[in-house]
């Protein structure tokens, strides 16, 4: 019975204007965005290759620095996440200071003015609104047209009607969405010539499932709202309000709340404190070298001995300083992660925020991979720093800094493993599924009490 209603619903809505709009968005806008973001992806990859080539030749060693680079996640062409804003190259310095992060800069000029249209945006903002427009009058419309009574006369169970309507309308949306998704993937492959890794195939499949769950949820919201109202116009206004709340207000408010509950220091404050650490280091070193210089003069040391003494001073103090700075930074990042966690927990009630969090976690373009990259780069940098100076001081007559830097093992970063990506997306995904189930129950109960006259 459910199947019959679902089929009828699907066939009816295939002929509506709303369906044509959905098809247009899915089959024209989605591939267009995939096409543009694929060429962005190519540009980013080219950049990454260029930076890696420079590293291969160790050009930077002449400036006493080493750069570590973050490869471009394959799926960033579909789900941008924080990728365009994220730090993809960190400079490790042998002497003072060590991270001059450079943010990727392949964005469009007006990126601050208009939202980037990627798959997350299309599904999360556009298709969710269209889903509501498909389903807002599922029951109230039938009632207004007086066809609901006829349907009930056919001895269909009430829950059958609700679920059938839901499935039929969801299918109406799913068909063009899946079609658009396939076209976008083809566009991506033909534009970039990239072969997705097995991990990314799995991630894509899960991302598609997450999108389906999200779209089904919005169809269901429309159906449920229509069981509470008896007029089309009231249904649509209620749907609009719910959409605005869930898609626009809650995600933004969640960040504000997290910031109020758990403020973190501003970036310049962090910067300042790190500089003050360096300042202490420099001041201490200056004093000790000054004393050493006087002592060397008094005792008539030779050049080698004086230099070695200064180096030893520097090494000892620099390592101490590096540790202080590291501890400070670690503390800061822990605070930031804590704030993010609060934001996520608060915004779990918003399906849009669940969707975007699971999509970017799966595509490996979220905050987690950014942190992991920084963590690994810093760990590498710490080892690099100790190694280089120890080797240099062990043999002052031996190879200089540039040569030593060039000998360092290469840094490589692969992104997060599939398991971790799935782990990060599991809670938002579960939230989406649970919301679907709960709302379906609400819908069935509400429709059982619905006055069909």
């Amino acid at each position: 019975m459910i199947a019959t209603i679902a089929r009828k619903e699907l066939l009816t809505s295939l002929r509506t204007v709303r369906f044509v709009v959905v098809v247009l968005v899915c089959c024209l806008l989605t591939p267009l965005s995939a096409w543009v973001l694929s060429s962005d992806y190519l540009k980013e990859v080219e950049d990454y290759q260029g930076r890696e080539d420079l590293e291969e030749r160790r050009e930077s060693s002449k400036e006493f620095v080493l750069n570590v680079n973050k490869p471009v996640p394959q799926l960033s062409a579909l789900f941008r996440g924080v990728n365009p804003e994220s730090i993809n190259s960190i400079t490790l310095k042998v002497f003072v200071g060590w991270n001059l992060p450079i943010a990727a800069a392949t964005q469009s000029i007006t990126h601050g003015l208009f939202p980037t249209v990627d798959l997350t945006f299309i599904v999360g903002v556009l298709l969710s609104a269209l889903a509501l427009m498909l389903s807002f009058d599922a029951l109230s419309g039938e009632k207004a047209d007086a066809t609901l009574k006829l349907m009930m006369a056919n001895s269909v169970s009430r829950s059958g009607i609700v679920l059938g309507k839901w499935l039929g309308l969801a299918a109406t949306l799913f068909i063009p969405f899946l079609l658009g998704m396939v076209i976008s993937l083809l566009v991506f492959f033909f534009t970039t010539g990239v072969r997705l890794t097995a991990d990314n195939w799995v991630a894509t499949a899960v991302a598609v499932l997450a999108s389906l769950a999200y779209l089904a949820l919005f169809v269901l919201i429309g159906v449920v709202i229509s069981t509470f109202t008896s007029r089309r116009s009231i249904s649509i206004f209620a749907c609009l309000a719910v959409w605005g709340l869930l898609v626009i207000v809650v995600p933004q408010a969640a960040n504000a709340v997290s910031e109020m509950i758990d403020p973190v220091p501003t970036s310049q404050e962090v910067e300042k404190n790190i500089r003050l650490f360096y300042n202490d280091f420099a001041e201490g070193l200056r004093r000790r070298n000054m004393d050493l210089y006087e002592q060397a003069k008094r005792e008539g040391w030779d050049d080698r001995r004086a230099t070695l003494g200064q180096y030893n001073n520097a090494l000892e103090m620099a390592i101490q300083n590096r540790e202080d700075v590291n501890n400070y930074e670690r503390e800061f990042w822990a605070q930031v992660v804590g704030q993010e966690r609060i934001g996520r927990t608060v915004s779990i009630v918003s399906p849009f925020s669940d969707l975007s969090q699971s999509l970017i976690a799966l595509a490996d373009t979220g905050p987690e991979v950014q942190r992991e990259f920084m963590r690994q780069a810093y760990r590498y940098g710490e080892r690099f720093f100790r190694e280089i100076h120890t080797q240099r001081f062990a043999n002052l007559a031996g190879p200089g800094y540039p040569e030593l830097i060039a000998q360092q093992p290469k840094f490589s970063f692969e992104g997060l493993s599939l398991t971790r990506r799935l782990e990060n997306s599991v809670w938002p995904l579960a939230a989406l599924v649970i919301m679907n189930i709960l709302l379906a129950i609400v819908g069935v109960i509400a429709f059982n009490r619905y006055d069909v006259r």
Binding site: I236, Q252, L276, G400
Partner: protein
Amino acid sequence: MFELFFHELRDSLFGGRLAVAFLVMLVAFLISLGMMSQEYENRLENYQESMSLSADDLFYNKVVYWVHQSGATDDSDTLTYPMGKVKKPDPLLFFSRGMDVDMCKAVEFVATFPIIDITYRPLQDANLLKILFSAPDLLFVVKVLVSLLAILFAYNLICEERERGTLKLLLASGSSRTAIFAGKLLGGLLSIWLAFTAAFLVYLLSLSLLTPVSLQGEMLARILLIFLTSLLHIAVFFGIGALVSVFTRHSATALILALFLWLVFVFVLPGLSSLITQQFVPVDSRQKVARMKLEKAQEMEEEYAQAHPDEDRSNTAGYGQRSDAIRQEVSDALQQIDEEHRRRRELQAELTTNLARISPIGSTTYLFSALSHSGIDDVALYQSDLQRIRSELDGQITALLKNFSLQEYLASGWDVSDQMEGLSLLDYSRNASFSQMTLAETLSLAWVDFVLLAAFSLVAIAISAIRFNFYDPR
């Protein structure tokens, strides 16, 4: 006509529609105000932090020279002056964040003798979720919510009268169709304008009372223009709604159509324009430009080194400092690459700007951001200011290098601050200010968007008025 006008106005005044619109806008405005004031305060705090270091606190005034017994220095013969500079946040941020994200970076002038390099440090929030969902500025509310309300005020202007059968009665009253339409349209438009004005005034009042922002001088003029922009913006979307209402026969169909148009104009078209231009006028990324510059400099220096094998070359290749003889030449070549890049970016920006104007949202966005000192042209000004500061610093540092004496440094008890004092680079970079566009300059660039918005609304209204003359009232 006037009767209808007053009737329409009275209807929305006492029918509750105006009150609902006012309340919805007010709530949205105040939410935006709350979130933006949090952001503004963070920014201000950040700016103050960046200014709170005194010269004595900074490591680079206590440069540690590693000195050999013989008086020669070791291989670290460079001094590094990292000077962070953060632009002071503009209070107009509340109205539109615009391209502000491009201007709120901490800029570091890293002076590794004798070359100064500008490094942009992303001054983004460490909390990356804020990139995904940033706080809504007033522009966002106007773009998304106010336009929706305007469309909703107008979508059933005519077709509902038809549905209720009152349109026939109206037409029978003897007034001309144009007069009826004009009366209804102006009444509706004025009522949403009223609701917006009231909400906007409360917003301004709360802005001046609840936040540290003080409204004065040119800022007031800019706010007035932002207000006018919003009125035009409302008129455009009201016109679109009216258009829908004369092309449909049922208000339910009209509603769906109106919402689709809203989605397309607000969310699809503006994003589409930048997608398209990105595809057709691609611009190299900053990283690629940096790499190209490095390679160019290396190539030139390599060439020079082969031609002059006997010259001493101790400095690093690739920065134009390897040899004084070709320093100027190299820096000119590098500047040319920068110039080329800048030209392309400008071309792309121009194309995107014009394409985005297909949707009235484009014009509204440009007007809001230009009036809030965060438009595309303001970014260009900011960039040129950075170049200016950089070249001035460059001159000072070159002078410092000439005067720096190691002997004096040793004699002064390893204190370099005496020699630095005359230069006070820190003070310089701190006091060097960013210039701001005057209102006249902004307007000379932005008038076209005013014209476009006005034209858009007039065209929409004119078409719907003409169409109404053929509307079947049965």
